[in-house]
């Protein structure tokens, strides 16, 4: 069976090209970091803390060194002077408290799973076996797990040397910012006020490839291969952290098995592997087990969201007041504090709120640090606003869809500057919504829902809506600067045209499943008029692709792809000059189309880009002062974000006797601007949906009251399998971005951002007749069943916690709601 490649003469962009990167992945000819073996390489195993908070009163690694195959063992004190601190690149406020983050704990441990010692051996099993010979005495300290308690006066502290468990308080208020009216006025004058507390449970990115790092030391630096999303940032940060010259550090990201933000990090394990390899002067490899990964790779989400929405009786929204507690975990990692702040600009979403306030407090607890996870701040924001819109609709007794229509930005109002100060480039919420309603058969489902309610069917039907937007293309460097981020948001590309006319594209965007090699080839094929097959994309090695800011935040195409376009434009400009010379014409008289320069109005073959490339290579006959090269380099810094949007609809069946919820139909219509490769786009949407739905229904990182992660394996942390998910119906509308020449927006995070509230709104919708106004995520059968039981008592609080794992949970802070809505249809 051979692939039928749909092609038209319209060009490569927009074609569902099958991916160039597939073959080696399909045949097992892969270069995962753990596959790598170097001569003399040692294998590392890391001893991790079993205590959430303790003083290390003594640690002795000497017996481990005596074990067979072991070469060396080290504790934190052995590297205390050289390990520096894991960098945090996003000090969100000038007074943000960063307690420092040793890679290998020295005096205290602050979360279960923190690294305390490392063994280097000739093989992995010997290293692992020797861990049991390490003697550690822990003196327990009080464990801080719950955010409100952590902030209370006189609370036990995670870090003894800090003033409190508060890292920062970050505030935005539209009246003060001049982007809208004062929030206090909106709150005071509100005709209707709805308050809710939503819990964004802690999640684990759970990329399929466990993290792995290999370090080859040199006399004054090292080469690192690592399962990372960010080889370039990692290189700079490792040089700064370890006080080594940046040009002596090379970082390679070979095949990388997923990231989802989870590999957007400078990890303790990368630093430890480097320290050991350099200390011993031998290559070293560390590969984590899945259990280690779940408890020590950074987590995501984990917010308590107090949301207040105000409106007029007619349903016009007048204000949104957001107060977040964001769990940083025990330490600040690369962008931990910045994640909730990214949400600051998205809570107002697609609605025309005249007044808006956002306050976020970052809180330390004795848990694994949190950081970026697919969407990073924006899923949290979208969830809160899409949930509160449903609650407001319920309060007002209006249709949630009508409430949205009344308040969203109409398509003729773009570009639209929001109350959070961002300018949305383009969109058409009406069109996407109409298409989604049509695809799911909304009216028919509504009828069925009414009928099931009427006959008191034990299986009720819930219909959930999420009309979302997000900001993609991170990020304009000036905006990042104004938010105190330590780096820019540009991306780099260079194009090399070889003597034979083949093309190499070097990109700073480091792919780990996104299909950049294919998409970039399509872009370049169109730009230069060369065959798709003639383009090779080079990435993921700071030596061969020296400049870049890597892959996260749905930025690769909207920033990195545009850098490719800019570089291609330079190549064509250089080629044009040589072609004009060869054709004995003026540059102004040349046309360039389909990879060929022709003289306007003059019949003839003209010169192909390949002819020009060969002429540049031989350099026998070039115009005076022209360099013999077509190669070009471009760095693109976007002037604005791009703002994809879409309408996601979920129909869910909830068995009111068992609490089981099953998605019957999921439809999404996404508007991500122009599409380079629809096949890749659809794949990104599917995967994003799976992760967002998983937050709604399945996944939660749970700690017991001693700070042990009780979801530390894939037995307990429920990654959905194929039987847990439906087939999705997807479609697109197209509102080209106006902020970049390709008109593209970004799609990597859309599904994850949009789907969670669609599913939870559907679950709650099914249960409204029972007096239920919230179900805490993940909406497990147990939680739904409990919500039904409590709903009978007219509570609109989500039941907190879970006993599903046999212990208490981190969600003891579930809170009160001041709204007392009781006007739902009663059975």
């Amino acid at each position: 069976m051979t692939a039928v490649e749909e092609r038209t003469d319209a060009g490569e962009i927009g074609q569902p090209r099958r991916r160039k990167e597939d073959r080696h992945l399909l045949t097992g000819a892969t270069t995962w970091t753990d596959n790598l073996t170097l001569p003399g390489m040692l294998h590392l195993a890391i001893l991790r803390s079993p205590m959430a908070h303790a003083r290390i009163s003594s640690i002795d690694v000497s017996a481990a060194v005596q074990r067979p195959g072991v070469v060396a063992a080290f504790a934190g004190r052995d590297f205390a002077d050289s390990q520096g601190t894991i960098p945090c690149a996003w000090p969100v406020t000038p007074d943000m408290v960063n307690p420092g983050h040793p890679s290998l704990a020295v005096d205290t441990v602050n979360h279960v799973g923190e690294a305390v010692a490392v063994v280097a051996a000739r093989d992995k099993a010997s290293a692992q076996d020797a861990l049991e010979a390490i003697e550690v005495d822990y003196e327990p300290l009080p464990v801080v797990l719950d955010m409100p308690s952590a902030l209370a006066e006189g609370a036990d502290k995670v870090h003894a040397h800090t003033g409190s468990n508060r890292s920062f308080t970050w505030t935005f208020e539209s009246g003060a910012a001049g982007t809208g009216q004062p929030i206090d006025q909106a709150l005071a004058e509100a005709e209707v006020t709805v308050r809710r507390r939503f819990i964004q449970q802690r999640l684990i990115p759970a990329f399929m490839e466990p993290r792995s790092t290999v370090v080859q030391p040199s006399s004054d630096g090292f080469t690192m291969w690592s399962a990372t999303q960010i080889p370039h940032i990692l290189r700079t940060m490792l040089a700064l952290t370890l006080n080594l010259p940046e040009h002596k550090v090379r970082v390679v990201a070979p095949d990388v098995g997923g990231g989802f933000g989870g590999k957007l990090q400078v990890t303790p394990e990368e630093v430890i592997t480097t320290l050991v390899a350099r200390r011993l002067g031998r290559p070293a490899k560390y590969t984590e087990t899945r259990s280690e990964s779940l408890m020590s790779a950074h987590h995501g989400r984990d917010q308590i969201q107090d949301i207040t929405i105000t409106a007029r009786r007619d349903g016009t929204v007048t204000g949104l007041d957001v107060h977040l507690l964001a769990d940083m975990g025990a330490y600040l990692r690369l962008v931990s504090p910045g994640v909730p702040i990214l949400g600051a600009f998205m809570f107002n979403a697609i609605y025309k709120f005249p007044a808006y306030r956002f306050v976020c407090e970052g809180v330390f607890t004795n848990k694994t640090p949190t950081d970026a996870y697919r969407g990073a701040g924006r899923p949290e924001a979208t969830f809160a606003v899409e949930r509160i819109m449903d609650e407001l609709a319920h309060e007002l007794g209006v249709d949630p869809l009508e409430l949205r229509r009344k308040n969203w930005i109409r398509h003729e109002e773009f570009p639209f500057t929001t109350v959070a100060g961002l300018t949305y480039d383009s969109g058409n919420y009406e069109a996407a919504t109409e298409r989604a309603l049509e695809l799911i058969g909304w009216d028919e489902l509504k009828r069925e829902q009414a009928e099931r309610r009427q006959r008191k069917d034990p299986v009720q039907l819930g219909l959930g809506i999420s009309t979302f937007t997000e900001m993609c293309g991170l990020a304009p460097s000036r905006v990042l600067g104004s938010l105190d981020y330590a780096a820019g948001g540009w991306e780099n590309a260079s194009i090399r045209v070889l003597a034979t006319g083949k093309v190499e594209v070097v990109t700073g965007a480091s792919a780990h499943g996104q299909g950049h090699e294919t998409a970039w080839s399509q872009i370049v094929a169109d730009q230069l008029g060369v065959p798709f097959e003639d383009v090779e994309v080079i990435h993921g090695d700071t030596q061969s692709s020296p400049k870049g800011l890597d892959t996260y935040g749905s930025r690769s195409l909207a920033v990195g792809g545009i850098a490719v376009v800019k570089a291609a434009e330079k190549v064509v400009a250089k080629a044009r000059r040589i072609a004009a010379h060869l054709l004995e014409a003026s540059e102004d008289d040349l046309e360039f189309a389909g990879g060929r320069f022709t003289v306007r109005g003059v019949p003839g073959e003209g010169k192909s880009i390949q002819d020009v490339a060969f002429a540049a290579f031989t350099a026998h006959d070039l115009p005076d002062g022209v360099e013999p090269s077509l190669d070009a380099d471009a760095t693109f810094d976007p002037e604005n974000f791009s703002f994809p949007h879409g309408t996601h609809l979920c129909a869910i069946e909830v068995d009111t006797e068992t609490g089981a919820a099953k998605i019957r139909k999921y439809v999404c219509v996404d508007d991500i601007g122009k599409v380079i490769n629809p096949l890749i786009v659809e794949g990104q949407v599917h995967g994003g949906l799976a992760q967002g739905i998983a937050q709604a229904l399945y996944e939660e990182a749970v700690y017991d009251d001693e700070g042990n992660l009780t979801t530390g394996t894939f037995v307990d942390y429920l990654l959905p399998s194929a039987t847990d998910l439906p087939s999705f119906t997807t479609d697109r509308t197209t509102s080209p971005s106006t902020t970049n020449p390709l008109g593209v927006k970004g799609v990597g995070e859309a599904g994850t951002i949009a789907s969670t509230p669609a599913v939870v709104n559907a679950v709650v919708d099914a249960l409204r007749p029972f007096g239920v106004n919230d179900v805490q995520m993940p909406c497990t059968p147990e939680r739904i069943w409990r919500a039904l039981a409590q709903g009978a008592e007219k509570s609109d609080r989500a039941p907190g916690g879970t006993v599903a794992y046999g212990g208490s949970s981190t969600t003891s802070s579930d809170g009160s709601s001041t709204s007392d809505s009781t006007d739902g249809d009663q059975l």
């Binding site: 991916r19 099993a125 899945r290 780990h512 499943g513 037995v715």
Partner: protein
Amino acid sequence: MTRVSITVDGVNYVDEVEPRLLLVQYLRERLGKVGTVVGCDTSNCGACTVALNGRSVKSCSVLAVQADGGEVLTVEGLAGPDGSLHPIQQAFHDKHALQCGFCTPGMIMAAWDLLRENKQPSEDEVREGIEGNLCRCTGYQNIVAAVQAAGQALSKEASA
């Protein structure tokens, strides 16, 4: 140490192994067959799936000594001698059933076993057939489509 004789992708290997050595460790660390990968330590993810004596197994849950005298097929042994992709590999390519590709070797081998028994599985049958293999990238939809398409191709091959 125990002596084992195992045929992997058509090549016979004789080795002394520790009794505790897992089949996946034997493949990766002793034979250099790193196309088969390890994704977890609780036999949940299925990334290490291979065929042992014609049935799919999670090679993290089989000891190398248990495979003694057996025949192992990994994702590296599927393509034709001329490098042509196996119909399942081809279908995964055609249907964009992989993104990062880490789960792919195990997913393909699980599909191989599923299609050995049933070349025209329904969507539900495919989903149940690959339930023991986790993918974090694709949401499974294109994998399901690929497995069904591969079944069609294999049916045609069988009747040709």
